[in-house]
Amino acid sequence: MVTTQRPVGLPRWAYGPALVGTAFVLLPLVAIVARVDWTHFGSLVTSEGSRAAFWLSLKTSTASTLLCIGLGVPMALVLARRDFPGLGVLRSLVLLPLVLPPVVGGLALLYTFGRRGLLGSELDALGIQVAFSTIAVVMAQTFVAMPFLVVSLEGSLRTAGQRYEIVAASLGAGPTTVFRRITVPLVLPGLLSGAVLSFARSLGEFGATITFAGSLQGRTRTLPLEIYLQRETDPDAAVALALVLVVVAVLVIGLARQSRGAL
């Protein structure tokens, strides 16, 4: 039989606040479940508006997660593997969306890609208008979610180190082969959990989306926006949809835990 040793005791006062903190997080979830109108749950979550919002959320979050991987993996590579003056500052700036209020991010995007934004006239000339379109939703989500992937992957890259990469190069493998056959497999757990976190963050995105993309049903009104709007007119529908998001979030956390446990 295996006995767990506890060589160092925990301060006794820690248990109380820990319990309060746990309750503080879990109780609201219980409150949501308790508030759900179960008799109409089916029809509430399958109404046209709900279905449109759900699928839009799923599609845009998937797209933004892919975008996060496509842009974030190279960013993490450069941040973890290169050293140049200003790297520290650059890292902080790139991770800014982690701490920036999403509304501010949305405004910033609007003044960059909006019709009167920094690049607006150039995009206009090309016949592209991104603001208040589904593309804008994806951009807003990518903006806030990418730092999660970059942070997670950069940590994995640093932990993995370069020793295996050096051996692989000495065996004749070019940088792309080393990346594909050695680096990616070694940091796969970090990459997966980073992608899952990005997906979760995209799914919950609200502030940047409503500022930059607006709230047009079927085009830019994602699940969080739908919940916020329904809260005014049909609280039961809002609660039902909220529960859907809670379930998705729980699933995502489960996935992230599994991918962390892998290897």
């Binding site: 050096i166 051996v167 000495s170 004749g172 940088p175 056959r181 050695i182």
Partner: protein, 348 residues
């Protein structure tokens, strides 16, 4: 290969003939690993030139168009202390990595890899993951992996240092077999590695070459303190005067001249085994012996003997002798060694 690395105070010029295995010996911080890094393309020197079979791999310095061939295009495979097998690939895929990177089709690369695994004696372990291999097995797979990449130059960085003593002799034999006729550089601390694996030895100290020659020559007639320590010999360096080696500290050592006698006033080396040294409490009379007045600095056990250190000299004596003479650190004693036990030869 010749290069200068001002930052680490390394300035070397070393040449390896095709098909020859060269051992780089030297104390820690002498520049051995830096030298390997420069050849492998992992370290860029301040100035210097690395050439491999007529191909310039590195050429940097003032007034030159810099050449820096990236590590993967140099054909210099690295084998380190640790096997560093790719953890997500099984043994045969690890070995097939080099050929596959060179564009060999998967099936062919696997067949080649299997042959290499057989060659180093672990053919039956091909489907094992690195985590399922012992240290010795993993190092054999790493040897196979390095060879399968068909390097023009094999770089071995203390390949036997991290291994269990029990598996060491067998792996050394394998390395000896596969290195025969191959161009390789071995960095090592182990005199046995130098003797068994290398044709020639270069001894580095403080980032400079202090000694070079065939392995047997360097270890039987060391000219640097480090090589003498590796060979387990006492070394007194000085000038040849009146038929003896006179050291700057004033030691005068008589011995048997090996080969050509040194010219008077020329640099000369005297070496003798620590077990040939006798220790006395009283000054010694009698001419056939060399006698040195020394102060014991340290006493340490050495298998069934006791090693008595006195500065750079040491004597291996029995436990009984230590007890009878009550030897201890700080004591003034006389080290005595017969002239017939001392080899004397020119420094260069």
């Amino acid at each position: 290969m010749e290069f200068v690395l001002a930052e680490r105070d390394v300035d070397l010029a070393v040449e390896v003939a095709a098909g020859e295995t060269l051992a780089l010996l030297g104390p820690n911080g002498s520049g051995k690993s830096t030298a390997l890094g420069v050849v492998a393309g992992l370290v860029v020197p301040d100035s210097g030139r690395v050439e491999l079979g007529g191909r310039v791999l590195t050429d940097v310095g003032p007034g030159r168009a810099p050449v820096r061939v990236p590590p993967h295009a140099r054909r210099t495979a690295l084998l380190g202390q640790e096997p560093l097998l790719f953890p997500h690939l099984d043994a045969v895929e690890n070995v097939a990595f080099g050929p596959r990177s060179a564009g060999v089709p998967r099936a062919t690369a696997r067949a080649t890899a299997q042959d290499w695994l057989e060659e180093v004696g672990v053919g039956e372990l091909s489907r094992r993951r690195p985590a399922q291999l012992s240290g010795g097995q993993a190092q054999r797979v790493a040897v196979a992996r390095a060879l399968a990449a068909e390097p023009a130059l094999l770089l071995l960085d203390e390949p036997t240092a991290a291994l269990d003593v029990a598996v060491l002799p067998a792996l050394r034999q394998t390395l000896r077999r596969v290195l025969a006729g191959r161009t390789a550089v071995v960095v090592t601390h182990d005199p046995l590695d130098a003797l068994l694996l290398a044709d020639r030895v270069v001894v580095l100290s403080g980032g400079r070459v202090v000694e070079h020659g065939t392995s047997a020559d360097v270890l039987s007639r060391p000219r640097s303190p480090f090589a003498a320590r590796l060979a387990g010999l006492n070394l007194v360096a000085g000038t040849w005067r009146d038929g003896c080696v006179e050291s700057p500290e004033g030691l005068r050592v008589h011995g048997l001249v090996v080969g050509e006698p040194p010219a008077p006033g020329e640099g000369a080396i005297a070496t003798f085994r620590p077990s040939a040294v006798a220790v006395f409490r009283e000054p010694v009379e009698g001419s056939p012996r060399n006698a040195f007045e020394v102060t014991i600095s340290e006493i340490e056990p050495l298998r069934d003997l006791i090693r008595v250190h006195a500065g750079s000299l040491h004597a291996d004596v029995t436990v009984q002798a230590v007890a009878q003479l009550s030897l201890e650190a700080g004591l003034r004693v006389t080290f005595s060694v017969k002239a017939t036990e001392v080899a004397v030869y020119p420094r260069s």
